[in-house]
């Protein structure tokens, strides 16, 4: 399908690619943006548009999905940086380590609020590995990180989430 798009500029093949991957890319961005649906869909559209323009550069040595996640994450980071400069986003300050007290537990009832306790890199790594089933190697390549760094990022994120999850269960 990729070959048909690159060699023949086949728009219907590209549409098939978008249909195939839109759900995962949009879900990934929705969770990265802490549930900002409009922003997530704008970034997802930008992701596919960028993918279309650079599809010839896709080497095909990994899953297309992880290549798309890599583009999506880069766009998210640039957008986040732009927003931080313009002081528009509530996510402009990286969240501090979660405090597991009663108030925090109340705020952590949803997965989204648990995810906002993580730094963007940690969030992206956890989503890639545990929601979208990328291997550590694929996630490391998508985030442009050394494998060891990715593994410790995932481990740290998992521990943070587990603490919140356990505290939530205790209080329920």
């Amino acid at each position: 399908m990729v070959r048909r798009v690159v060699e023949k500029d086949d728009h219907s093949a590209f549409e098939q690619l978008v249909r195939l991957h839109q759900s995962r890319v949009r879900q990934f961005l929705r969770r990265l943006t802490a549930g900002d649906l409009e922003r997530a869909d704008d970034l997802a559209q930008e992701t596919f548009f960028k993918a279309y323009r650079h599809l010839a550069g896709y080497r095909g040595d990994g899953k297309l999905r992880s290549w798309l996640f890599s583009i999506a994450y880069q766009l998210f980071v640039s957008d986040q940086r732009r927003r931080s400069k313009a002081r528009l986003s509530p996510l402009e300050i990286e969240p501090a380590a979660p405090r597991i007290d009663g108030r925090q537990v109340e705020l952590s009832h949803t997965v989204e609020s648990m995810l906002t306790c993580l730094r963007s890199e940690e969030r992206a790594a956890v989503l890639m590995c545990y929601q979208h089933d990328l291997t550590h190697e694929e996630a490391a390549a998508a985030l442009d990180l050394p494998l060891g760094t990715l593994k410790s990022l995932v481990r740290r994120a998992r521990l943070k989430m587990k603490q919140i999850y356990a505290a939530t269960k205790e209080s329920a």
């Binding site: 728009h11 590209f14 549409e15 949009r26 969770r31 997802a44 929601q131 998992r158 587990k162 999850y165």
Partner: protein, 122 residues
């Protein structure tokens, strides 16, 4: 409980569930409906494609016109234009060569021109 003990407990839990099923289950979501998303992406691709082609065509048209006018002008400056005979009495002069080079550039530009934008067949 101290941070250290909490960490130890969490690490013990990690070992008991190596596939992290709790996390996978918690993050699992139903697939999203397309809801016109792919159509929006495609129409953007089409729009940008048209815009790129028109810009490309304008650039090449500029190069073509400049080369044709420049070539004609330089060649017309020379003696004997347009009755010019490379093998005859009149020697080929440098301005002729420059003029011909520019004309060739014009023709090459025309061949490279995005015919789809102009609806031309070259």
């Amino acid at each position: 409980m101290s941070d250290h003990s909490e960490r130890k407990l969490a690490e013990a839990g990690e070992a008991a569930d190596p596939n992290q099923l709790w996390l996978r289950e918690m993050l699992a979501e139903e697939p999203l409906e397309d809801g016109g998303f792919s159509r929006d992406v495609l129409s953007r691709v089409d729009r940008e494609g048209r815009r790129r082609r028109s810009t490309q065509a304008l650039v090449w048209a500029g190069v073509l016109i400049t080369a044709l006018l420049g070539g004609a002008f330089l060649a017309a400056l020379g003696p004997g234009w347009p009755d010019f005979r490379p093998t005859g009495a009149q020697p080929l002069e440098s301005h002729h060569i420059l003029g011909l080079a520019l004309l060739s550039l014009g023709l090459i530009s025309a061949l490279w021109l995005d015919t789809e934008s102009f609806g031309l067949e070259i």
